[in-house]
């Protein structure tokens, strides 16, 4: 079996001392976390390790000894060997290195026998640049280690890792953080990453501490902290409490006033502005909870929400500054009424065209006139309504534009709602046309069955043959003929208004998609992937450095960052989904039959 030792890069030039770390059970490997230097008192070392174990929850122990003899420090070898009796371990590692040479030697002393083991491979795990050169020294050392008692040929792999990066990184797929759910054994790499990540209390002792122990790890040159970050942490607690109080007041008023009055509660489920408002309230509530985030997923979610809200507000303020400058609002208001007039005029022309002989088709004159006049009257009503509202439009736009200060998503939702309101007549026309067409189609299909002498059996849900009386057949055939010859007219009106409605739905859909994108895209995670790619790790990768035959092997290992698509997929904020609930085939079938389509149905976040 091969023994794997994970060795931090920062300890490559550390002074001689004791190795502190953890044995990973079941995988035959050890993670070295720090080196405690001479002089020390063994009792104090044991006490310190127990203290660290209590604080961090990691099973720390003394793994062995490390020696990098400087000038005037000969004779440490025997001292190091005697230490194994003071710290009783199952296996005691003796790692040593000569200055100026790149190779390490390792002797593993087992408790029962003292086997001298061969050192055959070094694997260096590092994120830095390769700065070692070829060394033939290791070959000689391995040969020396081969003398003496050799009962088992065991190989040792050294894995060098960059401690800070491994400490901060998170392996994906993220394991379930529920401690009761630990049914599957963790893999070796995951255990190693978790060990380093949880040993943070061990890295608080730096060289400026006046304590009794001196150690070397990635932070031993001095702990760094930013005063701005500390101040912000202190200031954020009262701010969070204030915001959460505000939000609770707001949700209480919403529940009392809005949801109890009937028209408002119906409106609030239809209008996308209200939905977006409730969604953002939920987000702010997550953000402003005074507890700090436990676990990586929660932290990423909070960070993503915060960055998304900030970007949203920034874009909204940018939009506002463009709107309120140079009188853009009055320009828009002045352009709106003539645009509505123009649309109404186009619709009237369309209806006149339909009432004539559209595309060379010959319509049934009477039905044509009825339907055309009916819709023309509606358009006339609508235009009067627009003209009535004309003086107030500028005011509405002005106050509506203020909502952009909450965020661009609010402005877009408001725009979508306003488009829905202003094209309400098209929606009405579509509903009338669709209902008429639907009735006609049902009537036709039923009478067609009668014509063939069949009947729909409701009990058995199938078509059965039926013997009709003569007068039933006569009337049925007559009605069938009438409906059949009126079909082209109705179908044409239905087609035109469905197309118009679909155009509006498409426009609204684009708006909703962009709102959804701003809501759910994990900007913080994407930024982290770009700037600090080692924090989101998919795995690790090894690279072979220069090597010589028969000597130690140098391998370089780095953190393999997560792919962008996986980042977006893992960290997407779940939104109220407004995706179409029908597939394309179902949609086409509904259009053909004449059923009303509601392609954008909002699901609430509490889905079953």
């Amino acid at each position: 079996m091969v023994l794997k030792i994970f060795f931090p890069q920062c300890c490559n030039r550390a002074d001689s001392g004791l190795l502190v770390g953890r044995w990973i059970a079941g995988h035959d490997s050890a993670v070295v976390l720090a080196v405690i230097h001479y002089p020390f008192i063994p009792g104090q070392v044991k006490q310190y390790i127990q203290q660290m174990q209590a604080q961090s929850g990691v099973e720390l122990s003394v793994l062995g000894s490390w020696s990098l003899p400087k000038e005037g420090q000969e004779g440490l070898e025997s001292f190091l060997r005697d230490l194994s009796t003071i710290f009783p371990q199952e296996r005691w590692l003796q790692i040593s290195r000569q200055m100026g040479k790149t190779g390490f030697t390792c002797e593993v002393l087992s408790r029962d026998q003292s086997e001298k083991l061969n050192l055959l491979t070094f694997i260096f795990l590092s994120g830095g640049s390769a700065r070692r050169s070829n060394e033939a020294e290791a070959k000689k050392e391995s040969k020396d280690g081969g003398d003496g008692e050799e009962e088992a040929e065991e190989k040792v792999i050294f894995v060098h890792y960059e401690q800070r990066k491994v400490m901060l990184s998170q392996l994906h797929p993220i394991a379930n953080e529920n401690p009761e759910n630990k049914s599957e054994p963790s893999t070796e790499l995951r255990e190693m990453f978790q060990t380093v990540a949880h040993s943070q209390p061990l890295f608080f002792l730096d060289k400026y501490d006046d304590g009794l122990l001196k150690s070397t790890h990635w932070q031993s040159e001095g702990r760094e902290a930013s005063i701005i970050v500390e101040l912000m942490k202190q200031a954020s607690v009262p701010l969070c409490i204030f915001i959460s109080w505000l939000l609770s007041v707001w949700t209480w008023t919403c529940n009392i006033w809005i949801f109890s009055v009937f028209p408002l509660c119906f409106l609030s489920s239809i209008l996308s502005t209200f939905i977006q408002l409730s969604y953002r309230t939920e987000h702010m509530r997550t953000l402003s909870s005074p507890k700090s985030a436990e676990g990586h997923t929660q932290f990423m979610r909070k960070a993503n929400i915060l960055v998304s809200v900030l970007v949203d507000v920034a874009l909204g303020v940018f939009l506002m500054s463009w709107l309120y400058r140079d009188d853009h609002i009055s320009m828009l208001a002045d352009a709106l009424v003539p645009a509505a007039d123009h649309v109404a005029q186009q619709l009237e022309e369309l209806l006149q065209w339909l009432m004539g002989a559209p595309a060379g088709l010959k319509m049934n004159r009477a039905l044509d006139q009825v339907l055309g006049r009916f819709f023309l009257y509606h358009i006339h009503l609508w235009i009067s309504y627009i003209h009535l509202m004309a003086p107030f439009i500028e005011g509405i736009l002005w106050y509506g534009g203020l909502s952009a200060c909450f965020g661009l998503t609010f402005a877009l939702s408001l725009l979508s709602d306003m488009v829905a309101l202003f094209t309400f007549h098209i929606y009405c026309f579509y509903v009338y046309g669709a209902r008429l067409y639907c009735l006609k189609i049902y009537g036709l299909s039923s009478l067609w069955r009668l014509f063939r002498g069949k009947k729909w059996n409701v009990l058995r849900q199938r078509v059965d043959s039926c013997s009709y009386d003569l007068d039933q057949l006569f009337i049925g055939t007559l009605l069938l003929t009438i409906l059949l010859f009126l079909l082209p007219t109705t179908a044409l009106y239905y087609l035109v208004f469905t197309l118009l409605r679909l155009v509006i739905v498409l426009f609204q859909g684009i708006l909703h998609l962009s709102v959804d994108f701003i809501n759910s895209f994990p900007l913080f995670a994407a930024g982290l992937r770009v700037c600090r790619s080692y924090r989101l790790a998919e795995g690790v990768k090894f690279r072979v450095l220069c090597e010589e035959p028969g000597t130690a092997l140098h391998l370089l290992m780095e953190i393999n960052p997560l792919k962008f698509s996986s980042v977006v997929r893992t960290y997407r904020t779940p939104t109220y989904s407004c995706y179409p609930k029908d597939s394309w085939a179902a949609l086409v079938k509904k259009l053909f039959i004449g059923e009303l389509i509601y392609p954008w149905r909002h699901k609430t976040t509490k889905t079953d």
């Binding site: 491979t121 694997i123 190989k155 072979v544 092997l553 391998l555």
Partner: protein, 181 residues
């Protein structure tokens, strides 16, 4: 460091490079043939001749500039995303297996599979239309279900070496896996 010439399933020459770093660490690199100058020239000339023909009829210089742009962008995308220069397999006993492919632009895509997830390395055969193709693959298992194969990772997908090359790699890998698993 031994380099041998083999052919892939389409008859093009590829090279296999076996490197033994230690008794339980070996690296196998299969290199595909490089982009040939002839093909590049044929492709560029045909696109530009077509653009000139269109320009002759429409007298619109945008056609020419767009043809140049398309050629450049297409070539850059091809060498960055499509053309694989070499694929390598690094087997480290009791640690795992690393599979990496590097593209002609220098981009490297690496995956490391830990030893606890590896069940075995085998040569599978696949029937593709009228051909029977052999490919080397790694069988993966869940750590707590040692008797079931959870997924299969095929190796050397772009270079597609033939059976002789695969057998050589297979024998080498099995030497390491049998001792160190």
């Amino acid at each position: 460091m031994e380099e041998e010439a083999f052919t892939d399933i389409n008859g093009k020459p590829i090279t296999l490079d076996c490197h033994s770093h230690s008794s339980f660490c070996r690296e196998f690199t299969v290199s595909s043939p490089k982009v040939s100058i002839g093909k590049v020239m044929v492709y560029t000339c045909s696109v530009w001749l077509l653009a000139y023909a269109v320009f002759f009829f429409t007298q619109n210089t945008a056609v020419l500039s767009s043809a140049i742009l398309i050629t450049l962008v297409g070539m850059m995308l091809h060498i960055h995303f499509v053309k694989v220069d070499h694929e390598s397999l690094l087997v480290i006993g009791s640690l795992g297996i690393q599979v990496s492919s590097s593209y002609a632009s220098g981009r490297e895509v690496t995956t490391f599979i830990e030893m606890s997830k590896i069940k075995d390395i085998v040569i599978n055969e696949a029937i593709y239309m009228h051909q029977i193709i052999y490919y080397l693959c790694v069988l993966l298992k869940e750590p707590f279900e040692p008797n079931e194969v959870s997924s299969v990772v095929p190796l050397f997908q772009s270079s597609k070496p033939r059976l002789g090359c695969l057998v050589k790699v297979y024998k080498s890998c099995q030497e390491i896996l049998s001792t160190c698993q």
